[in-house]
Amino acid sequence: MAITYPIFLFLIFSSLVPILSLYEDQVGLTDWHQQYIGKVKQAVFHTHKTGRKRVVVSTELNVIATLDLRRGEIFWRHVLGSNDAVDGMDIALGKYVITLSSEGRVLRAWNLPDGQMVWESSLHGPKHSKSLLLMTNLIIERNNVVVIFSNGRLHAVSCVDGEVLWNKDFEAESLEVQQVIQPAGSNFVYIVGFAASSQFEMYQINARNGELLKHENAAFSGGFSGQVSLVSSETLVALDSTGLILLVISFHEGKISIQHTPISNLVEDAPGPAVIIPSSTMGLFAIRMNAVTIFIRVRGKGMLEVAEKVNRETTIGNALSISEGQQVFALVQHAGRDIRLTVKLAHDWDDDLLKESIKMDQQRGLVHKVFLNNYVRTDRSHGFRALIVMEDHSLLLLQQGTIVWSREDGLASIIDVTTSELPVERAGVSVAKFELNLFEWLKGHMLKLKGTLMLASPEDIAAIQYMRLQSSEKSKMTRDHNGFRKLIIVLTRAGKLFALHTGDGRIVWSRLLQSLCKSEACQHPIGLYLCPWQVPHHHALNENPFVLVVGRCFQSPDALGVLSFVDSYTGKELSSSNLDHSIARVIPLPFTDSTEQRLHLLIDADKKAHFYPKTPEAIGIVRREFSNIYWYSVEDDNGIIKGYALKSKCNSNVADKFCFDASELWSIVLPSESEKIIATVTRKLNEAVHTQAKLIAADQDVMYKYISRNLLFVATVAPKASCEIGSITPEESWLVIYLIDTVTGRVLHRMTHHGSQGPVEAVFSENWVVYHYFNLRAHRYEMSVIEIYDQSRADNKDVWKLVVGKHNLTSPISSYSRSEVVTKSQSYFFTHSLKAIDVTSTAKGITSKQLLIGTIGDQVLALDKRFLDPRRSANPTQVEREEGIIPLTDSLPIIPQSYITHNLRVEGLQGIITVPAKLESTTLVFAYGLDLFFTHFAPTRTYDSLTEEFSYALLLITIVALVAAIFVTWVLSRRKELQDRWR
């Protein structure tokens, strides 16, 4: 193999810039694409008799989508900007979806069938406030009206064209609006809210022209707290500021009356302060005290009466009017492995309209939200379907006691990704259900040959395409020879781990981590990192690999840490532990113990170092490598970069031999008035580098790459320039980049780009960094490359010295040797904004690299690293051309065929991960965001394997033809010889 690689390299370099493209019929062969929407916040059903039944949802990831109610597929979907969160949503006129977003500033209408935006209007107001959207059935001048309260102003907007018909300011000091109510059949709206926390305010507004009809207020000395529940169109229920007294506030015909009832009068052993579960069910509301949910009925004039006390986890759905004066609502309760869906009439607690028990996957956790919808059965009775949102952010539709469909929308918010190998194929290990026999294999190839020769009928073509996409090879559950089949393990924001198969993207297992679920000790756990913990090879091959999930109890960096160890084959949580220290950083060390568990160094907020696993063997390794362990910290806020080494055991009162104090080795303090750190990048730990030397053919020279694992790229900007584009002039902005050795703190290179600003996206590989920033002078994005070469090895180019052995190539590389380095740099324009950048990584690092650029359009573009080569010049010499140097152009080319996502979008792109396959030519690319996209990518074509296009049948036919020809010629020659002899 070693000899063949240079030949391949020669072939690669001699070819022109390869365009790595795909034929349209190859889509889906090695790639898959999955679309998600995120955790649903609000859902509105659209189930009219005509047309397809759909549900419109808005999610916490700022997505508006319509889903098919039959199968859960997305009809259309729009991802709003990151600061454009959806506040309210409804359907108007049966054909428009109206959304209020951006804290009530933007109102948009979307066409329900196809998602085309119909109109957009922006609403302004005097001050910040809660945003409420109310669809009225009012018609003014043939316009249906939607009433919006946002930013302290009430707007009436026409549903047809988004025109603001009237607006009215509520500048009353500190009015906190709670509800906008339109009593049925009236043409006025009530605005109710609290002012100065102890005053109840009610405004009655004429909905036709915004005229104030009535303004009343009433004071309540106890104050108000939390949210309110509406129990009729002119009565609401609130709690006083202690949470112990229920207040029934009625504002019938403008007369406000407040009636208070202490909760202890209703419930005998009230455990403490209660909270109201906001709802708008006629004559009924619910409060929650600790884990107990209490349903309270409102009878007549403020008479309260407990309907039921429920101890289990209960979720209450929205109220739904099924007929004149009849309202129903849904309750979902957990009962062991099942969930129980109950639909009750609002005015008749004891009668259940529907009671269903549904078996639920334990890995989905608790029910978070319920949305109820009804339909009329053929016998004119009411049927119900419920859309439920689970703790793991998945969305399920329940109907007639079964789960009709489910969507794993937790996958829309991925925190971290790692990969794991599949088990080796051997007896007893699961293998795909059926294997093709030889006949079928041959038949398939004959079909393909027919396709190539254009003899195939349309049915044959369909069969070929089906065969190609459904190849059982790619979705087997075992390791393959080329290393294409792996498990992608992802950690989602909901604290759930998923293992996806690279072959077809299906979920192999999923697990809601108990350690990342809400508990007494840990109130708001969040996941942080996912690291491979144990990757068995060689002697420990029989063991399953494990991943380490690192989390912390709440958002702040000094919160206590949580660790969890999960089997990557089965998803079983082996163990989890709540740590007694915080986690600021996780550093996987390049050492493993005898069971192939990788040593990890966890740095806490007090700069103490904790080693894991906590075994005597690990501590032995740590002792041996004690002086070789270094790390650094970057403090973005005050611009300090510090380097650390291990010093001594912690001298805390608890004897913990795995805890070490750190000694500060060096620190770099950046002037805070002129520089602010905006990006830091290091090399990937597991990157393979094939060769240190780089041959410069032009002058028969050798350059040695400066390859160090301890390099850190830091980008800083002027503090003023750290905000958005448009707000600063070129004269007052600059971008400074540093290359820092993290062991010694030595600054290897510093460069200033005047008139440039962030955001900076960078990737560091081998001896080069590529970074992307905005050039304010040209008003374009730029990408720069820096390559670092080791000058102290430069005198090793004499071949004779190498032969005699007088070279210093075998001397160990150390950060302390202070070798001289040379850097080369060049900048180019680039068209698009960037969301993510990464570089291809292959098994041995021989294949030349391509940059993978996630553009603002959510596509992933592959760009050859040779376009970012500081040796490019306007007129390369003949020798340089042969070496593969491309003539210099001022901007980087965008070749549409080299979008590896082809005509797909990875909406909300966040990150790109590359994993080497075993085949040197190929790398596996996984891009994630709202959507997931996976593909195989060969940076310089697949030079080491036959392509999928290769026709085995043609080869077979050729061989057969050759053998036949040999026999024919043999027979002919025998006959000729015989004739010759007779002559």
Partner: protein, 200 residues
């Protein structure tokens, strides 16, 4: 490409005013995206399908969508130089720099950053169509002939049909001599390699 003239959106161009000083806070940028109908007909993007076009200000600060007539607007924009990007699958749009000046609010200052072409109105058109897939070449006999297997077969045919011709043209004396030589050297002929061929 010949039929660029029939535009998708036949709206009065004069109404495309670009920047206006909006309400209380900030300015408003109004513009329009036009996708000529001649483009995209052979691609996978339906002509006139504007629901998936996004207009992005300053690399993601504000994202907005197009109305059915192709218009878009950004509200509450501060004075300064801004960058507008249009993303549409199947088309390549150049980013546009837009100067919003506080002194003369009605003035239009927009330029494509790719080719530095100034725009009198903020009407954005794609620079080119993007074809994400390689076009599969139609089947031709030359491809088969040029493939390694085709060359193998071709070489065989040459050997089978042309070699005997060459041999025939040789002088019989010379031929005999050559055969003698071959026998003496013991170079295995093709016949001797085959079963039953080694008798001579």
């Amino acid at each position: 490409m010949a039929s660029i003239a029939p535009l998708l959106l036949l709206v009065l161009l004069s109404t495309a005013l670009t920047i206006s000083s909006g309400s209380v806070d900030g300015f408003t940028i109004n513009g329009r995206v036009k996708i000529p109908q001649g483009m995209g007909t052979k691609g996978f993007v339906l002509p006139g399908k504007t629901s998936n076009v996004k207009v992005i200000l300053n690399g993601g600060q504000i994202v907005t969508y197009l109305r059915p007539d192709g218009y878009f607007s950004f509200q509450n924009i501060s004075a300064g130089t801004h960058l507008i990007e249009v993303t549409a699958i199947g088309y390549f749009f150049s980013p546009v720099r837009v100067d919003v000046s506080a002194r003369n609010p009605g003035k239009v200052q927009a330029a494509l950053t790719e080719n530095r072409r100034g725009l009198s109105e903020l009407v954005l058109e794609p620079l080119r169509e993007e074809q994400y897939f390689e076009i599969r070449e139609p089947f031709s006999i030359m491809n088969i002939v040029k493939s390694p297997m085709g060359l193998m077969v071709g070489f065989m045919l040459v050997v089978v049909f042309l070699m005997p011709k060459l041999v025939e043209n040789m002088d019989p004396e010379e031929m005999r001599r050559a055969q003698e030589e071959m026998r003496n050297q013991g170079v295995p002929s093709l016949a001797s390699l085959l079963p039953g061929g080694g008798r001579n």
